[in-house]
C-alpha cells in the first residue's frame, strides 16, 4: 500500500563565532526529511568536516528564540547554533 511521503523541509542554518570558524562557514541551507527537529540538523552538521567538534548539546535558537534539540522544525525556519555566550 502506498504511504504519503511528506515533502522535504528546508531550513537555513546559521553559525557564529568559534562555530563558524570550526566548520568554515556561517550560513547554509539544509533539506531534511520531515518531520525533523533541531537535533536532526545538529546531526547533519556533525557529519560535516569539523562538525565533530560541536558540543553534545550546543545552544540553539529557532527563529530568534532559544530552542531545545527536540524542538520540531518547519520549512523556512532559521536555526542558529550558538557558541558559549560572552556578552556583558
Amino acid at each position: 500500500m502506498p504511504t504519503t511521503v511528506a515533502p522535504p523541509l528546508t531550513v537555513r542554518v546559521l553559525l557564529f563565532a568559534s562555530y563558524a570558524d570550526t566548520l568554515g562557514f556561517d550560513s547554509v541551507e539544509l533539506s531534511l526529511k520531515a518531520p525533523a527537529t533541531v537535533g536532526d540538523v545538529l546531526d547533519r552538521l556533525r557529519a560535516l568536516p569539523g562538525g565533530d567538534r560541536l558540543p553534545p548539546k550546543p545552544l540553539c535558537a529557532l527563529n530568534l528564540t532559544h530552542a531545545r534539540s527536540d524542538t520540531p522544525l518547519a520549512g523556512g525556519d532559521e536555526l542558529a547554533v550558538l557558541p558559549p555566550l560572552a556578552g556583558g
Binding site: 563565532a17 562555530y19 528564540t65 557558541p83 560572552a86 556578552g87
Partner: protein, 154 residues
C-alpha cells in the same frame, strides 16, 4: 535598538528612563578589562547575532518591567573595543531602590545568560581567542531554564 557600534553614553540611557515619579536609579556598566584568565588583554572584538539580540533583549526588558515596577534601559556595544571602553550598560529606574537594584542585576545576568553576543580577545602575546570557547566540543550547552527556552508550541 539594543545593539550599537558607537560608544555607549550612560547619561543618555539614564535620561531615557528618568522621570519625576522614579527616585531610585540603579545602573551597571561593564567595561573592557586589561586582563582575563591571567593573560594581558590588548583589546577585544564583540560580534553578535543581531536580530536575535534585539528580540532577546526586548524579552528580557519586558519580563523585568512586568515583574518589577521599573523602567529599564539596556544597550550593548559591538565591534572593536579598547581597554576601559564600556561594552554594556543597564539602567533600572524605580520608585523604590530595592526594585531598581534587583531589576538591574536581573537584567545583566539574563543578558549574559541568554543574549547571543561573543567576544574575541586580542592578547599581548599576539594570540586571539574566542572567549568561552577555548574548548569547543565541551563548553557549549543547551540553555536549560524555562524562561529562556521555548519550544515551538509555547
Amino acid at each position: 535598538m539594543y545593539l550599537t557600534e558607537s560608544p555607549l553614553d550612560p547619561a543618555e540611557l539614564l535620561a531615557s528612563v528618568q522621570s519625576p515619579e522614579l527616585g531610585g536609579i540603579a545602573s551597571f556598566l561593564g567595561t573592557v578589562r586589561n586582563h582575563h584568565g591571567g593573560r594581558e588583554v590588548l583589546r577585544l572584538e564583540y560580534s553578535a547575532y543581531g536580530p536575535m539580540v534585539e528580540a532577546e533583549c526586548a524579552r528580557i526588558v519586558a519580563e523585568a518591567e512586568s515583574r518589577w515596577q521599573v523602567a529599564i534601559a539596556l544597550r550593548h556595544r559591538i565591534g572593536r573595543l579598547e581597554i576601559g571602553d564600556a561594552a554594556v550598560a543597564v539602567v533600572a529606574a524605580s520608585a523604590h531602590r530595592d526594585e531598581a537594584f534587583v531589576a538591574c542585576r536581573h537584567v545583566i545576568e539574563e543578558l549574559k545568560r541568554r543574549v547571543p553576543i561573543w567576544k574575541r580577545e586580542v592578547y599581548a602575546d599576539g594570540t586571539v581567542e574566542w572567549v568561552g570557547s577555548g574548548a569547543v566540543g565541551q563548553r557549549g550547552s543547551e540553555l536549560e531554564v524555562a524562561s529562556g527556552v521555548r519550544g515551538r508550541t509555547s
